[in-house]
Symmetry: C2
Subunit: 460 residues, 2 copies
């Protein structure tokens, strides 16, 4: 199904647009205007001539343009009528944000709108959903006030969420991360367009480099498997499947009436096709971040550079107890070169403990030599900004190195105000920052596993 | 060893106090003044009459008062001389922040100062350490500028760290948490006072309700075990032992020359004596937070209240896959009462999904009924502030409930600006807030395990 008109609409009709602040149809209008959407915006409301300074239309049929996207925000019983009008007006896609369908037992009403969408071949997302966002098109159908959710910047990660609440929460967190968002799709009851349609679209979308997926149930198992086979050969997919235990399955059923299914089977499918499997919202974001940095490791050997010995020890423990990663053993040439430039108190080892007085110069020398080491595939750099030597010039060295280095590179940094400021600068410079060794090493491992999957599947 | 004069000094001599900004002896003086230390402050420097507006002394012997704590910040070779003077002046305790001893091979110099401390029976912490902080006494020997590390507020958690860098990092993070700090002790080379002395002091310290411990090696194994046997019967101890793998052990050895020892043996000891074992800095803080809330669970049955179905499902998955916790099955009376007050769309189940429009009133009703449920031992409340109904009045209901509820209660909340503001208010109100279901459930499990340990050990 072609979702291009929905994601990149030249014009948008908002059916149920409203003049009353706080109403869904008003919030959506406001958000479009505030986001600086550059296409044409058509409010539709039978009882208004003008809404928020724009000419309003009685029905979508009155609009001369062919509409790319109609956002439907009217009470459930009226949805069939306006959807029928959309069909007659040759509207290309609709997002039904209205609730009051299968999720409250109104299965027949939902079947009716699905029939109408099929009859007119309108790509319909929803009902009972937050809808879609495309950061480049500045199109955003979400009916959530800006003050509660920060909007993410433009980027290469696309996020698909069945659940609206999880979707809006993750979206809010992504807004605080350095990597940006390409598209967000919350598809609710999935009456017509479902996860298979959405993933197929994102697979072929050049703006999407990483797909992040939150699901509770899989509707079309066979088609999902067929798509998965192709999908991860093209781009990485991070998946969080809720309903892994029987307690979770029960909860999922009462939430979206999803048949969560047997997780062991689903997990086996995810593994077979190289999905990165997250068990928590935090892992979902950690993995998305490392994939968004778009550098592929050529092996599993990790070098650790640190200005805090203790943090280096914890990180070495994590690497050694991971499934696939191991501590790098620098080449002899690297060791000699390090010995030459490092002060006497720095023991030439992995982790390389640069000591608490390490400054930008010492970090740069270490990054240059270990970055070029042929026995090192990935670099973990710990910067404890609480120490006397670590300051913004260390941040600048890292960002500089990131530009030229062809190996995965991440930073572990933990702290409050001063540290958070530096971490933000690092992320804006494309360097992923983690706040714990476990999160960092788990993410590197996910990156390595996907690289392995890709090289296996390309040689088949 | 009595560390009271060190932690609660009536007066402090700063030996090596300096007028030059940036110098260690200047930073320490500045920090004491900025913190509002109320005891007497005596700068000691052979070449100054006045430092930062205070009369300066040539040697500690010139001071008329008996000194409770002398902070020694002079070059390593001079430390024996000034320590000898401290002995003659009957100084009760010293913190040697100076480096240049065993950590750089100067073992003999270190042995010499240890002999002097023993001869005069001066409680000596260090050398090569950050020293000590007591938030109530407003005494803080750390030589780190305030702008890089936020200082924690007064509280009941005491934190012991061998490593200075890990110590300062964790201290910085604790400052951002709602729970406060009682004491911080970074003991460096442990030439005289070591972890056993410090833990013994904290065991008997009424201001310390929770002990958090970061160690790389254990010096006196037998004494440590003897103390551990008594310690955890009195208060909870969260421990992060770096050097769990051979890679970590090697790294630890090159860091503090610690003999990290066999972790399997150490872990068995920690488990036997009911320590909460953290594997990462983040876990150390998560566990500290739940113990600081000081409520003991009377069983393992967890109720989940949520305004986001998906987050409830993930949390149920975590509880069901934990080792000891399980989902509560509400008593019949609770179910009936919930059915009576909740709107029709709320399915009476655990998790209890209050739906995206849940407001303070709905949260309060759920908290009252489930808080009183006799089949529920602990409450996990998920608040996704991105949803339309969740606002500051929900925060107020939670804080209100925390005051009267005698069961452990925590909140899971994920998001950026708006959410962070509410999370801070919750924590200030004594409600621990976690940013992921995994972190929250792991922490509840640590709390439950400790409660079990205590009831087992009290019936012996």
């Amino acid at each position: 199904m072609d979702l291009t008109p929905m994601m990149k609409p030249m014009n948008v009709a908002i059916i149920g647009a409203s003049r009353s602040p706080g109403k869904v149809g008003n919030v959506i209008m406001q958000n479009y205007i505030a986001a600086g959407y550059e296409g044409k915006l058509y409010p539709v409301n039978p009882n208004a001539d003008e809404i928020l300074g724009r000419k309003s239309y009685r029905t979508v049929l009155e609009i001369k343009d062919t509409i790319d996207l109609a956002v439907i925000a009217v009470p459930a019983p009226i949805v069939p009528l306006v959807l029928e009008q959309c069909g007659k007006a040759k509207v290309k896609s609709v997002v039904v944000v209205s609730g009051g369908f299968a999720e409250v037992g109104e299965v027949k009403l939902q079947d009716r709108i699905t029939e109408i969408a099929k009859k007119y071949r309108i790509a319909m997302v929803g009902p009972n959903c937050l809808g879609v966002m495309d950061t480049r098109a500045k199109s955003d159908t979400m009916f959530l006030p800006m003050k509660k959710i920060s909007r993410p910047k433009v980027g290469s990660v696309s996020f698909v969420s069945q659940s609206g609440a999880v979707g809006s929460t993750v979206l809010d967190v992504i807004a605080g991360e350095g990597f940006g968002l390409s598209k967000f799709i919350s598809y609710g009851n999935a009456a017509y367009v479902d996860e298979v349609d959405i993933l197929e679209y994102l697979m072929n979308d050049d703006e999407t480099k990483v797909i992040v997926l939150y699901i509770e149930g899989i509707k079309r198992g066979k088609e999902f498997v067929e798509l998965a086979r192709k999908l991860t050969k093209k781009k990485p997919v991070v998946v969080l499947k809720a309903g892994r235990t029987s307690a979770g399955v029960n909860a999922a059923h009462s939430h979206t009436a999803s048949l969560a299914g047997n997780y062991a089977v689903q997990e086996a499918i995810f593994r077979q096709f190289g999905f990165a499997i997250a068990n928590d919202l935090s892992e979902l974001l950690y993995y998305a971040k490392i994939f968004a940095s778009e550098v592929k490791p050529s092996g599993n050997r990790v070098a650790v550079i640190t200005n805090g010995g203790g943090a280096g020890v914890i990180t070495a423990d994590e690497i050694a107890s991971s499934r696939y990663l191991k501590m790098a053993d620098y080449a002899e040439g690297t060791k000699k070169a390090l010995k030459k430039v490092m002060p006497g108190l720095v023991n030439i080892a992995n982790p390389l403990d640069l000591a608490g007085d390490a400054d930008a110069n010492r970090y740069r020398q270490a990054l240059d030599l270990i970055g070029a080491d042929r026995n090192t595939d990935m670099l973990v750099v710990i910067i404890l900004y609480q120490t006397p030597g670590a300051d913004p010039s260390v941040t600048r060295e890292m960002v500089q190195k990131k530009i030229t280095l062809s190996k995965p590179l991440l930073v572990i940094s933990v702290g409050t105000e001063y540290t958070e400021k530096q971490a933000k600068l690092l992320e804006e410079g494309g360097v992923p920052v983690y706040d714990s060794p476990i999160a960092a090493i788990d993410s590197l491992e996910a990156l390595f596993e996907y690289a392995e999957f890709k090289s296996r599947s390309s040689t088949r």
